[in-house]
Every structure is written in structure tokens, then in C-alpha cells.
Amino acid sequence: MAFVRKEFLHIFRDVRTLVILFGIPAAQLLIFGYAVRTDLKNASIAVLDNARDNVSNELINKLEASDFFTISNRLDSFDEIDATFKKGKIKAVVVFPAEMSATLTREGHATVSIIADASEPNTASLVTGYTSGIMNDYSATLTKQITSGLPVIIPDVRMYFNPNLESHFMFIPGIITLVLILLSALLTSVSIVREKEFGTMEVLLVSPLKPWQIIVGKVAPYFFLSLFNVIIILLMAWFVFKLPVRGSIALLIAECMLYILMGLSFGILISTIVDKMENAIIITFMGLLLPGLLLSGFIFPIENMPKIYDYVSMIMPPRWFIEIIRPIMIKGAGFEYVWKETLILAGMTLFLIVLSARKFKVRLEENAR
């Protein structure tokens, strides 16, 4: 269809659009894959060692040896802590009590205080969690050494799906979700509204093309570009981040197509409502991109938000899409695990298609009058 080809040409002639098409996904993937980590690496901590005995020494060595921490300061007194925190670099101070080794042999346990700078609560809870983990490990080795005769249980752990605990495993499905919104909904609505602003839409409408043909012609290129982008992201995930798709690729692509269809109909819907490009952009941001980032469980767990956010997120397609592709990609889940979510997403898509088709027709009739 010549008309579809015209759309493709438009897209490829515009260098800036191309940059958006490929630059944004790549940049997002790199930023989330490498830079934005929800886990902790090399956090600066300080120690206040009141014990200075072999136990405290050993524990300090263990902290230092872990990937999580860098001990960048040794304090001499409790009073220095506040000033240290105010400089902003140190995330926590680990305080060892006096006579630690002696207490440990006498009473069986000693208590290490972790004073965390909770102005960053996330970092604070990670630091205390990781420190406790290191202390637990140490306790376990002590237990093994001393209590071989006693009945003590030691749990074994297996980390499923992500044995090396890479934090970007969480993000890659989220990035696909965001990029697809950007491409399908945003670019579609903007390109249709642009034709309206320049008046070229009128020309198309008086042509013998049927309205649905015009719309299909407008959105078809974005459909394929979006799919193409999915494939690029998946390849990057595989080769750069060593995250292959564990489930069925066909299923994954099919789900992506469904989601792209949703985005395209949303874009068409917006374009029937607004007449100005800025408004199209703002509505897409507010209506899809922001919820996609905040209310999809992409980074921020919805469970912890106020209940109302949970309800609102229920009507947001990105939430369901992430719940579909995350298990498929990372856990290797099959359709039997995601059919419910797929059904919901399909329902939303159908709703949007019907709504946008209707609106489009109404507008045409208004124009005809």
C-alpha cells in the first residue's frame, strides 16, 4: 500500500524521530542496566570499633571483603557520627561494643549496632539488611565450629531465576513496557495531530481512501517499528546483560503485539480528542508514561503504596503487561500462568479500539457537516 510507504518515508527522513526510535531505548537500557541499581554496591560505611579485639577485627575484615561496602572511615567516638553523616558520604556506622570477644564467649552473643543514615530509607534498610546478613554468616561459621555435637539447623538456599542476584533482571521488562508506550502511543498521536495541525489530514480525508485505511496507514509503520524495537531490546538484553528469554519467544512477541495494539489505539484516541501537539504529548505522558513508570511495579512495588494507587493501577495497561512479560522472560512461565492478565489486557485493548474508532467516526461526521 503506497500510503503506508509514505508514512515509513516520513519517519526515516526525520533524523530526530530516528534518534528517538533507537536512542531512547538504548539509553534507557544502558541507564537501567548499569547505572540505576536497586541493590547496593560499594556503599561507604564507617566503623566505630570500641572493642579492638580479634572478633571485631574479623568482622570488619568481613565487611570490607564484601562487595556491598567500602569502609572509608574509622571513628573514635560516638559524637563524631552526626558530623560524619552531615557530610553526606557515609551511609551507616557500624558500632562494635567494648570487650566483644569476652562477651561473646561468656554470654554466647554480642550485639553490634548499625546506625544508618535513614534520610535515604532504602539505602538504610539495605545497609542494615546486608550487615545483618554478614553477621549471620559469621554466626553460622562460629556455630559450625563450636557446636558440631549440638542439634542445630542450618538452612540451604537456592535463588531461583536469578542466581547471581542481578538487579537489572527486574528492569528489562519494565523498559520494554515504557519504550513501547513511547513509540506506539506517543508517536502515533503526535504524527496524526501533526497532520491535523498542518491541514494535510483534510487532504487525506477528501481522498478516496476510507477512514480506516487512513488510520491503518498511519499506525502500521509504528506497529512494525515498535516490534523491531522489542527485538533490539531483547537482543541487547541477551548479549549485553546476559538475560536470554527463558519462556516462549513466540508467546512473548504475541503479547508484545497485543500491547502495541493497545498503545496504538490509545494514541489514536488521543489524536481524536486534541488538536495541538503539545496537548497530545502531555496527555500521553500523564495518561500512560507516568503511570507506566510509577504504577506498573516497574521499579516501585505497588504493594507498599496507599491502597488507592493499587486500585488505580488496576486500570492501567502497563501494570498487566509487566505482570505478563516478566514471568515469561525471566521465569520461563508459559501461557497457563499469564492467561488471566492477557485476557484483561486484551479486554482493555478492545475497549480502546472500539472507543477510538467511534470517536474518529464522530469527528469525521462533524467535519463533513
Partner: protein, 370 residues
């Protein structure tokens, strides 16, 4: 100088007459504060722990009730084998599965070494790590009870306990953490969206060309765009802060004056950036994409949501030229920790250098000739 006054008069008149602008100035801080601040939390939810009890002894039930009693876990029984446990993780019905072997109580009686098997869904690596850490500490407690019951001294199982204390935000309230960050985003939104779009719009409608054939100086024009939005930005910041104060009861430890001073420097940097971007583009659509792209990078890299220390070296080096990173740090230190001028002097100085840099880029980048 007199020319500048005429230009300023014009800008203010236009702002006051623009209903969209006025609406944005009121609505943006309200919405951002009330929607973003409560939305962003990272705290670990109560994890779904499925327990397969193959032993069904008093001892195993004791362990299960100890786990159920902890605030970390929601336990459910899952009478299945290891393959079934995998399916639970696959479907997301359980976050972790504990398998108690059938020789568990025998082991405790001293016949064999008792082993527990724990399977954790590690898609969310942080959550997995913490889940494992919680579980081991509950098990340690349990061990303690068992050993005490045999009549041995507690020193028989030595261990290090930890007692965490959270300074500046003892309840780990995420709103305290996010509010300073959202105030930074507020400044960016006002600065980048309003100031940049304003200049690009003049370019698109052609009024800028008329200005360009006058003998006006580049700096006069740029400054005439900076000052109105500078004042608006500070007003909006005050509005946002007030809303945050009323709605979330955030403590403000440091000096408000210092907070506004730093925000003002940052605002200048953002306005410089906005006007610089607007010299790179030819219409509003392009501007929005450019602005969105850089804003996204600057904000995500700044450590607003995640600790910036965990980032790789190149990312941290990037933050040297990232104004958002400076203010994010400064705001939290001043608002939550009560840091004073001497604590943030270095960051403030570097931020000022950046602000000057962006403004001069905007002036240099502006072309009076096409």
C-alpha cells in the same frame, strides 16, 4: 539595562495573560506533591512464604509458627514436592518456599544433621537478599530455643546480633525521603517546560525574528527569559514546600534560607539548560523530546530513587556535570539532617559553576542570525 527592563515588562505581561501558564503554576506543584510523594516507596512488603512440611512433627510446627509470627512473612501451607514448589514461584503465588525434610525432628534429636531447604524467587534481587536474611535470623532464634531447651548454656551457640538504628528518619518513612527529591523534580518541570517552550514558541511564531533584527544583545534577551521564570520557579517551590508540609508533616531540620539559596542556584542551571536546548531545536515537539530525554537521564542518574553510590564509576563521574545530583544531595542533607553551609559548601560551589556554565552556553548558543 533599560532595554532589559522593557523586555521584562513584556514577559511578565505575557505570563499574567496566559491562562495555561497560570494553571500550570498552581497545578503542577499540587499534583506532583500529592501524587508522587506517597507513590514512591521501596520498603519490602510482607513476603509470601509457602511451607512444605514433610515432617509434620511438633518441632516443625514450632518452626512454622515462629516464621508465621515474624512481621516479615505471610505463611501458607504447601504440601508438595520440590517441583511443585518451583511452580509456586513460577506463578508468583509464593515469594519463597521453605521445605522441611521428613527427617527434621530426627535430626534435631541428634540422629542426623537437620537441613532446611529454601527456594527464593530472585527476580527482584534486593527482595530476595533481604528475604534470605530475615529467614536466617528467624532460624537462628529457633536454634537458640532448641539449644536452651536441651539445658545447654546460651554460649553454646555463639552469635552476633545486630540492632539497627535509623537516624534522621527513625520510622523509615519514604515520604521524608521523596519529598526533597520531588521538590527538585518540581523545579525541573517548571524550568524546563515553561521557560524552554516559551522561547521555542517565539521562534515558531516568528516574533523572535523581529527581535533578532533589533540591536538587542544576546545576554539581554536570555536574561529577560531567565528572570521571570526564576521568580515563578521560586514561588512554585514555596508553594510545593507548603503543600508538602501541610500534607505530609515533613520535618525541616536545616535552614530554609539555605534551602532556597541552593534551589535558586539550581533553578538558574535548569533555566540555562532549558534555553540552551531551545537553541538546538526548531519546534516545540522537538524541544519536548530533547527536554524529556535529558531530564530522564539527569533524574535517573541523580540517585533520586536509588543509591548513586551503587552506580559504576562512569555513572558517578557523569554526576559531576549533573545539576540534579547536587541538589538531590543538598536537599536531603539540609531538610532531613540539618546540614549547614559548611557541610554543603563544596556542592553548592560546583552547582554554581554549572549554573554559570549552562547560562553562558545558552547565551553563546543563541543565534541572532540563522
Amino acid at each position: 539595562m533599560r532595554r532589559l527592563l522593557f523586555l521584562l515588562k513584556k514577559e511578565f505581561r505575557q505570563i499574567v495573560r496566559n491562562p495555561f501558564m497560570l494553571r500550570a503554576i498552581i497545578m503542577v506543584p499540587l499534583l506532583q506533591m500529592l501524587i508522587l510523594v506517597p507513590a514512591i516507596t521501596f520498603g519490602i512488603k510482607r513476603l509470601d512464604l509457602a511451607v512444605t512440611d514433610n515432617d509434620r512433627s511438633p518441632a516443625s510446627r514450632e518452626l512454622i509458627s515462629k516464621l508465621a509470627g515474624s512481621t516479615f512473612f505471610k505463611t501458607t501451607a504447601a504440601p508438595i514436592n520440590i517441583a511443585g514448589a518451583g511452580a509456586l514461584l513460577l506463578s508468583g503465588d509464593a515469594d519463597l518456599v521453605l521445605i522441611i525434610p521428613n527427617d527434621f525432628s530426627e535430626g534435631l534429636a541428634g540422629m542426623t544433621k537437620p537441613r532446611l531447604q529454601v527456594l527464593v524467587d530472585a527476580v527482584n534481587s534486593t527482595q530476595a537478599m533481604l528475604a534470605w536474611s530475615y529467614l536466617t535470623s528467624v532460624v537462628r532464634d529457633y536454634n537458640m530455643d532448641v539449644v536452651m531447651a536441651t539445658g545447654a548454656a546460651p554460649s553454646a551457640i555463639p552469635g552476633i546480633n545486630t540492632s539497627p538504628r535509623y537516624w534522621y528518619n527513625p520510622t523509615l518513612n519514604y515520604k521524608h525521603f521523596m519529598l526533597p527529591g520531588v521538590l527538585v523534580i518540581l523545579i525541573i518541570a517548571i524550568g524546563l517546560m515553561l521557560a524552554g517552550l516559551n522561547l521555542v514558541k517565539e521562534l515558531e511564531t516568528g516574533t523572535l525574528e523581529q527581535i533578532n533584527v533589533t540591536p538587542i544583545r544576546k545576554w539581554e534577551l536570555i536574561i529577560s527569559k531567565v528572570i521571570p521564570f526564576f521568580i515563578l520557579g521560586l514561588l512554585d517551590l514555596a508553594l510545593g514546600l507548603t503543600v508538602g508540609w501541610i500534607a505530609f508533616d515533613i520535618p525541616f531540620e536545616g535552614s530554609i534560607l539555605l534551602f532556597f539559596a541552593c534551589s535558586a542556584i539550581f533553578l538558574v542551571a535548569v533555566l540555562g539548560m532549558a534555553l540552551f536546548f531551545s537553541t538546538l531545536v526548531s519546534n516545540r515537539q522537538q524541544y519536548l523530546f530533547v527536554a524529556f530525554f535529558f531530564t530522564m537521564i539527569f533524574i535517573l542518574m541523580s540517585g533520586i530513587f536509588t543509591p548513586s553510590e551503587s552506580m559504576p564509576r562512569w555513572a558517578q563521574q557523569f554526576n559531576w556535570i549533573n545539576p540534579v545530583a547536587y541538589l538531590m544531595r543538598i536537599n536531603r542533607m539540609v531538610m532531613l539532617k540539618g546540614a549547614g553551609f559548611s557541610d554543603i559548601a563544596r556542592d553548592m560551589g560546583l552547582l554554581s559553576v554549572l549554573a554559570m556554565g549552562f547560562i553562558s552556553l545558552a547565551i553563546r548558543g543563541y543565534r541572532k542570525r540563522a
